[in-house]
Symmetry: D4
Subunit: 163 residues, 8 copies
């Protein structure tokens, strides 16, 4: 039996990032996108990371999501080893409040793009959605679901009554 | 005669952003990606912007790149009206050195993702490349060209001799 | 029977902003200014927002107050669609402590002004007061009440005895 | 012969701010709003400033615009002595790039609002426009001119052709 | 009976600042410096503040300490009305973590100095000490006490044993 | 023949700081305050610095002004070795625009106060003025000159005519 | 019997820094590196500090680790008095979240290097590791242990299973 | 003939960093330390970088210096692949003035230390000096030269006469 096809790979630099990353997972599950989640660190498991990234395209992976904090080299290192689209989630930090993670993730030099999302949970959810938006270019049904998701958000807001 | 097919739409908030945006254009041209460029402002031509965004999918557009500075609402406003992937380029600013553009572009709330690149020229070039990486999921040749682009960058670096 | 006249419209991007916005409401009520409060998002209900802003002048609205956080496009988007004075309240954020909301709200490009208040609760109260100051140009009594409010603040401070 | 009626008073903390403030003056002149311009400093001429602010309403002034840099106390000090709407322009600074002026102008405590614009020239132009928006609540013609100004901005953008 | 002589005047912009200011009071009491504490606001009681500052020299006051937060105009406004040395304590703030108070207090324009201390409690204690250092230029005994205070601090540290 | 009496000692961490420090010198000269200027570095001549600080009181020095940039330890190190009032001037820096110098100078821990002025030239001038304000507590004439200086600043501003 | 040989000296500016510094101690103990820990302040015990630093090389110390917060002059002052490698740990602070400690520690002027680690606990652990990396140049076994430490970190990550 | 022995390896992410890195080279040359300089990028030549780092110890390299800007992953990536001491130089950047490079270089997670120097030229010179300080633990002569370098710096300062 062959290996399970996976459309989105979600990597995080530390297991403590999982609470944040869960927001991306929830989105992918709600859109029925196949995914796998791994803890791989640009600094602590650099070779495992490169090995993983180089073979991931063979499993069918089309988009990679990477969450990391502090000097957040994860998304950039992945982007250095693949031409798949890489989405970065800057994880919030205790001291500099995620400013370090944000600048490390977003300020990529010319030639190696990373698609940076907002810091923390909203960024994780948006990473999941952005992955879906990319995949939807090839899957008409997914595009429709994304439009419905937008309409449902609007409906939720319309229901609110104040005063 | 039918309208020209366009894969990437590039919008900027002000004509003065063109010098920066040129880096994205150069990349798209070198990869032979069809594109169109428009000046449309979230603040000064909000209706034109929405009209444009709503019909752009009909021209075949698959990715939208948006460059804006200061309170940079352009990419976010576009993302509010489409489920196409939107890539944001924060334009550098005179006073706050692009920190305002960066935070306005990247700190999107949950539900409406924008793929934020680095501030200024490197971000513009990367926006072009990231658009290609998305399109390459459907175009095998483009993927090969992106790999060659990466190899060429490496070769350029390898040629450098110091001392 | 006709629709209730409303002098000030208060919009917020998310229901979670209501705790902050309450400070503006308290001020408007203490000055007996008619108002209405709505949750409308520049990113999640962009069309509802534009429709609301375009017709709001017909209800007699003279000032719009807009509260939003992160990439806070609400006040700027409203200002793009009206020539009524728009007052922005940057909502505090978990990670960047409201710096993102502040820069997104205040750094408006030339041509589309937003009157930005301080971050969070003090800014919300001041948004209510600033709306009153604008309305007082046409309502002599309101001007007197504002002067009395100032005197009362001073009296409160004068009462304090330390040591 | 009586004193000239003045609708908008423009104050700046130092003569060197005039280049920036000129943007506000240009706007007021284009909308035919009467104004006067003075250099008055919260720190170097505090009594002249208070005397001026206390009598300014007698000349018909309805809105005060205040431009200052560094520890920019001008707008806040004016707001402490009047219930007229006060609009603040944070002047750019050499070292901290206007961040000091911005935070000093915008972070007003509860009870004393200042309507803060963006840093520097765009903020000065917007201060002029925001003053017009306030005055337009009493002057129907001014409201029409403001709408035309918006349309003209949009037309300027529509004229731009790229490539 | 004449009014009590007071060497140091301590002002704060809001009663909520008292917890911080207490650190300055403790220092002054331990050095047996006469002082008085008042709540006076540059924004909410501007005239009381000026009246107080103008007469304070008659009570024998030689140094003024001013504590304020956010757009912290208190120390600067006092310095505008006196040639006595003014010491500023930037009060910590919820959102911008005292960066706003610090920049508003320290970035005084040429001509009107404020001696800015560190943010919050350490700054308040240091304001008390700095006042003593100024007074010690005229009081030999106080200079000796300050030296002893320094030696006692060193002794406290020398007592610490780790491991 | 005895050594010249000196009231104010001005130290700077590097000769390149002299252009900025000149503003303090100009002020001291205009008020006829005796001073001396030395280049002494907390990092490069730490022992010379301590030796100098420990004997400086014997020359009659009453106030020490210290200018330094980057990790600006000069003022704090001086304050560690004396109970004379120490005034710090944060020198502007190329990369972080003086934010590093400012935080290093102002954020002194409890027990060792430094009176921090604004960044750069305005701070240097104010350091000179603040030294005069301290000395004026013992020199009545100096107090009068300081008042006249303030009045002259106001007169300069009053002379300005705009438009 | 002679004094115990010590390879690494760990200094901190205040006893409250011990919780953070403990991370460095744990690392040194796990690698069986001899060390001593002292509280010595650049500002409160400047002479003790210099005396200690000047003789420390005689005890065999090869690396000095210094932890301090706010205007963190400790590492820089030590570096001024020795040519031993000095490693700085910026301690997190309540108000500016360690940004002050970081800039004070890292922005050393040309000529006096400090090896700055990240803010807080991760920086403290890394200070211990970096000291080991330096010592390992002379101790082959230590180099092997450091490689094993790296492999163990990787193994820990590899054990993690998600979902 | 065997390969030349090299004590220090200097890497930079882009040839444009050479002007800054030159300061490190000058220092190493003045101390007669053998070195080699290479352009290798964590993002554009990731495999060359890893290959280089893994074999560099065989050439006798004892310290690696890495200079990079923006999302500066170079030093951290090197540190991930070696237990040699890695010194990072954050290169100044056009928009965020090196704050991005600094935070990316210094905020390393627990387990993978990088010794971060100050931004730009002073940091590059200090990287060279810090490498020498490490090497001096094994080379007595080098220690003496470093002490002489310090004395020479002090002498240079002592020669300066002002006024």
């Amino acid at each position: 039996m062959g290996k399970r096809e996976v459309e989105v790979s979600i990597l995080m630099g530390s297991k403590s990032d999982l609470e944040i990353v869960q927001e991306a997972i929830k989105i992918l599950e709600s859109f029925e996108i196949s995914y796998e989640v791994k803890v791989l660190s640009a600094h602590r498991t650099p070779k495992d990371l490169v090995n993983y990234v180089e073979q991931v395209v063979n499993n069918g992976v089309k988009v990679i999501i990477a969450a990391a904090g502090m000097s957040a080299a994860l998304a950039g290192t992945i982007a250095a080893h693949t031409v798949l689209p890489v989405i970065g989630i800057p994880i919030e930090t205790k001291n500099l409040k995620g400013l370090d993670s944000l600048l490390s993730t977003v300020q990529m030099p010319k030639g190696i793009p990373v698609a940076c999302m907002s810091i923390g949970m909203s960024g994780a959810a948006n990473a999941g959605l952005f992955a879906c938006q990319i995949l939807a270019l090839q899957k008409k049904d997914l595009g429709k679901k994304l439009k419905k998701f937008k309409e449902d958000m609007a409906k939720e807001i319309r229901k609110i009554r104040i005063g």
